[in-house]
Symmetry: C2
DNA sequence: AACCATCGGTTCAAATAATAAACCGACAAG
DNA sequence: CTTGTCGGTTTATTATTTGAACCGATGGTT
């Protein structure tokens, strides 16, 4: 593994739940020698991707990420373009809408929007990792990846997250084939027990699936009528975001979505 | 220089004006061997910090920067916290307000707000580099850096950008001392000929100056009254942002700003 | 106070990973 | 058909990275 990759993996150790990390912890978490870790994190620090704060000298993500993000959004307004669609989707369905993007080999939440319609709602966090096998977004993105990628994911440990999580690779393969045939995916409490969600895939200019948009609702509110409404709204949001991104919807998906409507 | 730093410097080559770069260009710009450059950019690509697009296989900043930025803002809402203050500042002064942050050894624009008061305005770009010697933000940030940093900057080539750009290191040193004595800095057409601007420093929790907030106006509108108004609004915005960031205003600055008001 | 563990950071010989130059096939212009 | 460029690959050589031991500082325990 290259030195650069090792350094970048240090960045992945910073999460919502663990925003500050000391040098020794960092070395342990990354399974690196302390000296190595120190050199790497120092270089990240010099660049501003991480910064060191306080008396405990802990590290956290630095301001340079903001600058890079501003540049990226100026060129490719991925998040900015999708957010209004997401908000409209949340409003139309009365539930929580969220957007996720495939980054490397992980699916990350990039943004979400709440509805003002109900007192209870599914809450989300930005920048969290979504498991491929247990979320509607994960399933739908995985379903539309090249087979090699699918098998790599299925070859990894598949944790049971709730009583309704499917963990058998063979069953998941069948599930993914079904998703490809439908043009959307559904999760019924496989990630969090009370949450049902439906997701549709998003595509880039080369027709590759690079993310998903989903609606997550409390299980108790997910009637058959509501399901239909959500699927319809999702199909429309999915084509809109794909088009805003300059992507192209594969012809078969467009057909599937038209039929569903 | 470490391998990681070399890789990260590749990221700095992507700018507003040059968002897409091919492998050979990248190697030339970074002054790296093509093979070296390929390895480095590939690792950045694998991580998602950079992505490769189109038929020409050019590279651009990738989606991972969005995720990191979302994490950072969740922990330290630098930009998000400052933007409302910036908007109020633009409204109050009738001119363009902007925020810049010291990242590594460069000062970058992090955000800006326009006033709706005039038909003409100073326009800004996100994520652009501000020269230390020719902008009010640059001068004020440089003035409050440790001497070693100041001298490093002054030792570098100092380009003349307009007819009114001061380029003599000795004169700049005197200018910086004056800025320290005033608690704010002013640029009269030293960056762009028709633009006058005034800036105040921002401080972190350890009392280090990490950025600046500035108001940029067309020279023709910069009367003595307007100057006073802007200085007053800036002092208030400066303390507000510093405090929102959890920073502490050095006592002497607080005094200077009180006197000016 | 003495002890012990841990912290962030440093040192230096030994091991490993990065590098430069040459090369590849593909493409485009002349 | 030559010439130059592109993105990408290969290889022996070289320089960087690495690991273990070591610092002084800090803070809790006996």
């Amino acid at each position: 593994m290259g030195t650069v990759t090792k350094a970048l993996e240090l960045l992945n150790l910073f999460t919502k739940g663990r925003p500050l990390i000391g040098l020794s912890d960092l070395a342990r978490l990354a399974d690196l020698n302390k000296a190595t870790c120190y050199r790497l994190i120092s270089e990240l620090c010099d660049f501003g991707l991480v910064e060191q704060i306080g008396t405990a000298r802990e590290y956290r993500l630095g301001p340079a990420v903001l600058r890079l993000s501003a540049l990226r959004e100026a060129q490719v307004p991925t998040r900015e373009a999708a957010m209004p669609v997401l908000q409209a989707l949340a409003q139309k369905t009365g539930e929580t809408a969220h957007l996720s993007l495939l980054m490397g080999s992980e699916l990350h939440t990039l943004g979400f929007a709440y509805s003002t319609g109900h007192m209870t709602r599914v809450t989300m966090e930005d920048a969290e990792v979504l498991p491929f096998h247990a979320t509607s977004s994960g399933l739908v993105v995985l379903a539309f990846q090249p087979e090699a990628f699918r098998e790599t994911v299925l070859a990894q440990p598949i944790p049971r997250l709730t009583g309704r999580t499917e963990t058998a690779p063979q069953a998941l393969r069948a599930r993914l084939a079904e998703v490809r045939g439908q043009g959307f995916a559904e999760s019924r409490g496989a990630f969090q027990a009370e949450v049902h969600s439906i997701a549709v895939p998003l595509f880039d200019a080369l027709g590759r699936c690079t993310g998903a948009v989903a609606v997550a609702a409390l299980a108790s509110r997910m009637s058959e009528d509501q399901r239909r409404l959500i699927r319809f709204a999702l199909a429309s949001a999915g084509s809109e975001i794909t088009s805003l991104w300059g992507g192209t919807l594969p012809a078969d998906i467009a057909t599937l979505w038209r039929l569903a409507a």
